[in-house]
């Protein structure tokens, strides 16, 4: 497998805090890569740098062999990289269906000022997307009326609607009820696998990582301290002590 995304020597400090302190990482085409690590390790910062929200102070990021370092979020999403958020970023005064339809319209670049957003084509696709996330019943609800788990899923549905080649998900299962978690991740990853999407996801649940990730990268204080297949990495005593031990209490 070849690398879809190549990060080299990423550095970013906020005052004295080194949120990225020499990140080197290849994301391989077609893989599901989990990122684990304690709070404040710099996981979200990595996603922010990759999607153009933050600019690294040093280092480079290449996607499909082309440098994307420092491009703005719009330019990056147009190249096929989408993301979801640790704290769901929904249009709270819109319905769930409108949220997803707006993402579809954005993807299609269709901006006719006189044809409705909820025209057949997007409405059907938005509903099909919501159905896959088990959100169809909530299609007509205002986004700010959803509970935390549903908001999280709607947020991911919007990112998926953009039809990315690479999807970065920041803690997709936090806030989702434990009883539903496995089923949802399973559906989500099947959708991504079918669409040939490469996925990076920050995850705190080691059962999810073990079961669904092809590889796992362990973050600590702005660095990657371990990288490999879950069975190997999660069995490493140092990783268990430093990361998973903390996770259990977090």
């Amino acid at each position: 497998m070849t690398a879809l995304l190549e990060a080299r020597g990423l550095h970013l400090a906020f005052g004295g805090v080194r949120a990225a302190d020499g990140i080197d990482l290849d994301v391989l085409r077609g893989e599901f890569l989990a990122i684990i690590g304690p709070n404040g390790a710099g996981k979200t910062t990595f996603i922010n740098m990759t999607t153009g929200y933050l600019r690294p102070q040093a280092g480079s990021i290449a996607y499909e062999g082309e440098a994307i370092t420092g491009l703005n979020p719009r330019a990056i999403v147009r190249r096929g990289i989408a993301r979801s958020f640790q704290l769901p970023q929904l249009f709270t005064e819109h319905t769930v269906e409108q949220n997803v339809a707006l993402a579809l319209a954005a993807r299609d670049g269709a901006w006719s000022p006189l044809a409705p957003l909820l025209r057949m084509r997007w409405r059907d696709e938005a509903r099909a997307t919501l159905d896959r996330f088990g959100l169809l019943d909530l299609a007509g609800a205002r986004a700010d009326a959803l509970n935390e788990g549903a908001r999280k899923l709607a947020d991911i549905a919007m990112a998926v609607a953009l039809k990315p080649r690479l999807l970065l998900m920041d803690e997709p299962t936090s806030g989702v009820a434990a009883s539903e978690k496995m089923a949802i991740v399973e559906t989500l990853l099947r959708v991504l696998r079918d669409a040939d999407v490469t996925a990076v996801f920050v995850e705190h649940d080691m059962d999810v990582v073990e079961r669904f990730a092809d590889r796992v990268a362990v973050w600590s204080q702005g660095r990657i301290v371990a990288l490999g297949p879950p069975a190997e990495v999660l069995a490493d005593p140092a990783v268990q002590r430093e990361v998973i031990g903390i996770e259990r209490h977090a």
Binding site: L90, W111, S112, P113, L114, A115
Partner: protein, 314 residues
């Protein structure tokens, strides 16, 4: 509610025509009210994005002064109206490229500041604008027809009514379109738009340019109806009036601006006649009451009544 809106809009238009026929002196007031309603549709678009402009009278003034400057050379409404709209639109594009970078208080104040610059230019460049005296506009022709005064006033009333219906219908479609939906997304989660590949700035700019165009149309109608154009058209109180009307009428429907504008003009005339200097106080009291007790404005009250009746019927 959608179809109800269309029906109410047409009924409202019919009521205005009836009023103008029964009381011809109302025609002038209603024409000005319709023109202001058209300008307030532009304010409503910006409100959907969570932005309030305290300078949009600038575009009304642009439309009116275009009429005043061009009327001697091309005295026909068929030329003056599009010209006023075009100049205001161009100005809106230039200013919009700048102000669409800003939000909230900065957006509001920048618009205010720019409108006051234009106001003082209109006032100071006496040789060009005749300063505070303003410019008189001779009665123009209407699509080649030389009408007498009442005839021309009827023509302006009809024009204002047709354009008001057009502006309302357009705004309703626009707000339902991806562009309009992205506009209201600016209010709630602007950064997410960027992560979907949408430039929030361009979305706001488009709405801003449309609002300038509507302001220009309003100004051209007002210029040809009052036939006296003064710098006061651009003064900040005139901008405040547009925002006032938007809130009074309610931002929930494209009918709101027209409800607000007609009510505003009638209250102004009647209260002005009855209590002379106290009408601003009355308007202030009305605004206070609307904000405190009916945040949806007049439209919100009407929609509430209709919903209750529909609920009782079913």
């Amino acid at each position: 509610m959608r179809r109800g809106e269309t029906l109410l809009g047409l009924l409202g238009a019919a009521a205005l025509v009836a009023a103008a026929l029964l009381a011809p002196w109302l025609k002038f007031i209603l024409t000005v009210a319709l023109a202001k309603g058209i300008a307030v549709i532009g304010i409503l678009l910006l409100l959907r994005a969570g932005q309030v402009s305290f300078g949009h009278a600038l575009y009304v003034a642009m439309g009116a002064y275009t009429v005043a400057f061009l009327a001697p050379a091309m005295p026909d409404a068929a030329v003056l109206l599009p010209a006023g709209a075009a100049i205001a639109t161009l100005t809106g594009l230039l200013i919009g490229l700048f102000v669409s970078r800003y939000r909230e208080i900065f957006f509001g104040m920048l618009n205010l500041a720019l409108s006051m610059v234009v106001y003082s230019l209109l006032e100071k460049l006496y040789d060009l604008t005749k300063g505070t005296d303003g410019i008189r506009v001779e009665l123009p022709r209407f699509f080649g027809m030389a009408l007498d005064r009442p005839g021309f006033e009827w023509a302006m009333f009809a024009t204002a009514l047709v354009l008001a219906l057009g502006a309302g219908a357009f705004a309703r479609l626009y707000l339902d379109s991806p562009m309009g939906q992205a506009l209201s997304a600016i209010k709630t989660r602007e950064t997410r738009l960027e992560f979907m590949g949408i430039s929030a700035r361009r979305v706001l700019l488009a709405a801003y340019v449309i609002s300038a165009l509507l302001g220009g149309v309003a100004g051209a109608i007002i210029g040809m109806t009052t036939r006296h154009v003064t710098p006061l058209l651009a003064y900040w109180t005139a901008s405040g009036e547009l925002v006032f009307i938007a809130i009074l009428g309610g931002a929930g429907s494209v009918l709101g601006p027209f409800l607000g504008a007609v009510t505003f003009e009638l209250v102004r005339i009647y209260a002005g006649a009855a209590v002379a200097d106290a009408w601003q106080m009355i308007l202030g009291g009305v605004l206070l009451a609307v904000i405190l007790f009916a945040p949806g404005g007049l439209w919100g009250m009407i929609a509430g009544l209709l919903r209750r009746r529909a609920g009782a019927a079913s």
